[in-house]
Symmetry: C2
Subunit: 169 residues, 2 copies
DNA sequence: TTTTTACGTCAGCCATGTTGACACAAATAT
DNA sequence: ATATTTGTGTCAACATGGCTGACGTAAAAA
């Protein structure tokens, strides 16, 4: 508030800039999730289902523990959603070969279809934004987003490594 | 999948790029909200309270209707959270002067303190990311994020206009 | 053989969203 | 002047998706 009076404090601009960053994240996430949510709503599913379908599709044969570490929710919370998806035939489970306690998760055809439909929307939104902003801006976007993300998850965005090489099934 | 076999399909890279965009948003938002959530949890509040406190702090004398249009939730949902904040002394309401049906919302000292504490965390996260990425990247980040946001909310990010000039109280 | 790990389940609670219905005062339109 | 619309609030009921705590089982690892 003192900044308003002085009018020349560079910290005011900085604060304003940072608040814009906060708001960009809020609005982008709000709009980014709204359409898939609407599609999901029609078939009695929610955003939590979307996340599971997305990450299982993205990481075929992912284990429950790995999925939990991505989502950062409890196994009880995941269980509810995951067992619904299995029951409804979107996801299959099969025991791991080296470790038979594991349940490796995969999308069924039906699951792949739904995943496509949901993320198509989001991909289009991103594609539109990327196209409009241009390659340099996209690189800047990536850098800033990576800086916002906790260190431990950044490696996920390095030139994509075959997960089979780093995790044992 | 066909892309994997051909190995040279440029659409594969594009798909990968877009999926990375999706994931950047997921992880960034997850990490961006987790620390404020923890602070709020200790005093018995949640993310919904944070959003209200944030936008009331950002837009002093905002009306309930305006707040609803930002948050895109129902008035019943807002009511629960807002009346708690008023009851706990974080937010005050006063009737509008030109329109006495309105309840103009403002943060109390206590509300300002909490807002500071919560968004300080987020500002620091953004500041760190901005610093690391540099000015050009930040501009790219802004452009892409604006492209992701629905058209109608983009004007909010133009060189900040005095709200008093565009909305009547 | 003991301990740890991966996974699951039951039960209950909380936060935050929804819809629908009703109410009232104030502003606006006819 | 009266009728309608708008801004706000409230009650009630329900859904989703988090959480904790407790307990169980099979398989892997020590």
């Amino acid at each position: 508030m003192a900044d308003v009076k002085t009018g020349v404090n560079p910290l005011f601009l900085r604060e304003e800039e940072l608040r814009q960053g906060i708001e960009l994240l809020f609005y982008a996430y709000r709009d980014f999730t709204s359409e898939p949510d609407a599609i999901l709503g029609k078939i009695g599913l929610g955003r939590a289902h979307h996340r599971v379908i997305y990450f299982v599709g993205r990481n075929p044969a992912i284990t429950v523990t790995e999925l939990l570490s991505i989502l950062r929710i409890t196994k009880q919370s995941l269980s509810r959603v995951l067992s619904e998806l299995v029951r409804l035939g979107f996801v299959t489970q099969r025991p791991g070969t080296r470790d038979r306690r594991q349940r490796l998760l995969e999308l069924t055809e039906k699951g792949i279809d739904l995943e496509r439909q949901l993320s198509e929307n989001q991909r289009q939104r991103i594609a539109r934004a990327y196209r409009k902003a241009g390659a340099v801006a996209v690189e800047g976007f990536r850098e800033v987003m990576l800086g916002i993300i906790d260190d431990e998850d950044r490696p996920k965005f390095s030139a994509r490594i075959d997960r089979a090489a780093t995790t044992k099934r």
